[in-house]
């Protein structure tokens, strides 16, 4: 990896994360590159097992045995995160990069009030607070109230004293966002923030994230399985399949004219009222077993366009302005990346 690109906040290159299980080695993330610019919202789309969550758990330094990051560089704001000590990483995690989890009820601590959970983040990361004494406690309470107000929780001062079980699903997701944002991170990684929520609440939470992003100028990584959410909220999109990025580019371009057969298949799989009476065209078969995968196109077994030449290792190819795709069927005249 050379010098970081200007305007680039997070740059992941050649990331490989594997889980060594008794059944064999699962290559959950196999050579993934990610680039997130400052202030940008990038969508990461893929089905279960595509490696989207593991990629960003790796960025956060949250991979535990039997999992291991085997290769790759993770540069964040000029620092090489993989070279940091656990202590140095703790200073960044939660302060500069924050992550919200899909299931707010299990991610929150049921034994602490919301106020205490926000205070934990501030205690750990906020250096502007008064050193000690009642002034410090008051400053923490003020900040916590401010955070709950920011995420649109009514009567925040009273809500601070309540426990997670006293909130509805949408409110809990907001609280987790409040906790994640209380250290004013440069990057928010939101892992399926709305998957467990109803559509009307989903719309509220996504608008909230967009609004805060605009106000605080932070970057957002939105991990989701829902292409429609990406279409409405993200500048760029990365499509993952079986541990690899198969396509990336500006959202409008990728959705309007997908270059990888998997992206195409995903779009064709979405049932739409406009398609009533017509057949939908689901992708045949299922995701391959990630244990001991051969070096070949991973989508090949389900791809309508596959041929014998797909049985080799396929690299990302340029596929239009700012776009890349991992398919040899649609080469744009450019050279493959190594």
């Amino acid at each position: 990896m050379t010098e970081p690109l200007p305007g680039c906040l997070l740059e992941v290159a050649g990331l490989r994360t594997a889980f060594h299980t008794r059944a064999g080695t699962v290559r959950a993330v196999d050579g993934v590159d990610v680039m997130v610019r400052r202030g940008e919202c990038i969508g990461v789309v893929g089905e279960s097992g595509s490696g989207k969550s593991v990629t960003f758990a790796s960025v956060m330094g949250l991979i535990r045995s039997p999992g291991r990051i085997e290769a790759g560089t993770i540069r964040f704001d000029g620092q090489d995160l993989r070279a940091l000590s656990p202590r140095q990483m703790r200073a960044i995690r939660g302060r500069d990069i924050a992550m919200t989890m899909q299931d707010a009820l299990t991610a929150l601590n049921p034994a602490l009030t919301v106020g205490e959970q926000i205070a934990e983040v501030l205690e750990a990361h906020d250096e502007d607070l008064p050193r000690r004494g009642p002034a410090r406690r008051r400053a923490i309470t003020d900040r916590a109230v401010e955070m709950l107000r920011l995420v649109g929780i009514p009567s925040p001062a009273e809500r601070l004293r309540q426990y997670p079980h006293e909130f509805s699903g949408g409110m809990r997701q907001r609280m987790m966002i409040a906790i994640a944002l209380s250290s004013r991170p440069k990057l928010l990684i939101a892992d399926e923030p709305t998957t467990a929520l109803d559509v009307t609440i989903q719309a509220q939470v996504l608008e909230l994230i967009a609004d805060i992003r605009a106000r605080l100028g932070m970057s957002v990584v939105l991990i989701t399985h829902d292409l429609a959410v990406v279409a409405e909220h993200c500048d760029r999109v990365m499509v993952m399949y079986a541990g690899e990025v198969v396509e990336e580019g500006p959202t409008q371009a990728v959705i309007g004219d997908p270059r990888h057969p998997y992206t195409k298949g995903l779009l064709a799989s979405i049932p739409r009222p406009a398609l009533r009476g017509e057949k939908i065209h689901p992708i045949k078969g299922q995701v391959p077993d990630l244990i001991n995968l051969p070096d070949q196109c991973r989508f090949q077994s389900r791809c309508p366009e596959a041929g014998p030449d797909c049985l080799a290792r396929i690299h990302m190819h340029p596929a239009g302005p700012g776009r890349r795709a991992r398919c040899i069927r649609r080469l744009d005249g450019g050279q493959a990346d190594e």
């Binding site: 559509v199 009307t200 609440i201 719309a203 959705i255 995903l266 009222p273 689901p282």
Partner: protein, 338 residues
């Protein structure tokens, strides 16, 4: 018009919770949740009626009460001219051959200690539909192939299958007794997009080939809009709007339906689409608001809405909605774009 296959009138399901011994001694009242409140609807033979609403609105309870998996508190259920709600247990059992259900969770709804052949064969045994073991096995094998699995799968256990395959097993179990009516209770909600499309395609093929009638329950408007002939919208235990699918999608009349339609993210960019923001969460069903139940979140609510519940009115051919302000022909989806 001939008599509908299923018609439900004034169906109500109340769950009563006991306040516990301390509560009883202190004279606390019994807790009551009206999960389904005075619902009337019908399903024509060969039709798909979509039932949509957010979590907790009572859509699954309605589906299960229709099948008498939960006993109705009040109301009538007529299936093919027979008053199902009044059937004695013996006859109800025989009736169950004709009315089946497909569950949401393909992990929880299959017995992990039985083979596929046992699971799918059980309805045949219960209803005495096979004279010998060989005949059972033949029927099971036939239906297993019909749902896209192989006879080689018959002696395997549920854990050896993926989520999509398990859902196929659940579908085979529901169909093996050759029923006429199926309650599909969120059958694709737990599945990945590409697998979801496969199951939707399977369900529409089976409906056509076997002449089935579905009550299709889902929170996903895209799925409902793609599959259904007519759609019923539920809010806090009540059907607030029901009508032909085009009317519900394109000219929804109830403000809740309009909000729901506007909250769905779409893949295609649509110019001039306005997003109606619904404030707050679903009120607690333990303590539902008086008057129109939607008034706490409705942008159009007036004093009348707060004090008196609206009655269902006809707003088009086969299209009914319950709202006090229908005559004002408002449309929350038109006007300035957000």
């Amino acid at each position: 018009m001939s008599e509908p296959l299923l018609s439900v009138s004034g169906l109500t399901k109340v769950y009563r919770g006991t306040p516990g011994i301390v509560g009883r001694l202190m004279g606390r009242p019994t807790l009551e949740v009206k999960a389904v409140s005075d619902v009337s609807l019908s399903v024509e033979r060969g039709e798909i009626l979509g039932l949509i609403g957010e979590s907790g609105c009572g859509k699954s309870t309605l589906g299960r009460t229709i099948l008498r998996l939960h006993e109705p508190t009040e109301g009538a259920i007529r299936f093919d001219g027979i008053d199902v709600a009044a059937l004695p247990p013996r006859e109800m059992k025989a009736m169950r051959r004709r009315m089946q259900i497909i569950f949401q969770d393909p992990y929880a709804s299959l017995n992990p200690r039985r083979t596929v052949a046992d699971i799918v064969g059980l309805p045949l045994q219960l209803h005495g539909l096979a004279r010998s073991k060989a005949e059972t096995r033949d029927s099971v094998a036939a239906i297993i192939e019909k749902v896209g699995l192989k006879t080689a799968h018959l002696d395997r256990y549920p854990h050896q299958f993926s989520g999509g395959q398990r859902q196929r097993i659940g579908i085979a179990r529901a169909l093996v007794s050759r029923p006429e009516f199926i309650v599909c209770d969120e059958p694709v909600s737990a599945l990945d997009v590409s697998i979801q499309a496969q199951i939707i395609e399977l369900l529409s093929d089976l409906k056509r080939d076997m002449g089935l009638t579905y009550l299709f329950i889902s929170h996903d408007i895209s799925v409902i809009g793609y599959l259904s002939d007519r759609v019923a919208v539920m809010y806090l235990g009540e059907v607030v709007e029901i009508g032909p699918v085009q009317a519900i999608l394109e000219r929804p009349r109830h403000p809740y339906t309009q909000t729901l339609m506007s909250a769905v993210p779409r893949v295609e960019a649509e110019g001039g689409r306005k997003r109606v923001r619904l404030m707050g969460d679903l009120p607690s069903p333990l303590d539902p608001p008086g008057g129109c139940k939607f008034h706490t979140r409705c942008p159009l609510a007036t004093d009348l809405c707060r004090s008196r519940a609206p009655v269902s009115q006809s707003v088009g051919i086969g299209h009914h909605a319950s709202c006090h302000r229908l005559n004002e022909s408002f449309n929350l989806l038109e006007g300035e774009t957000a």
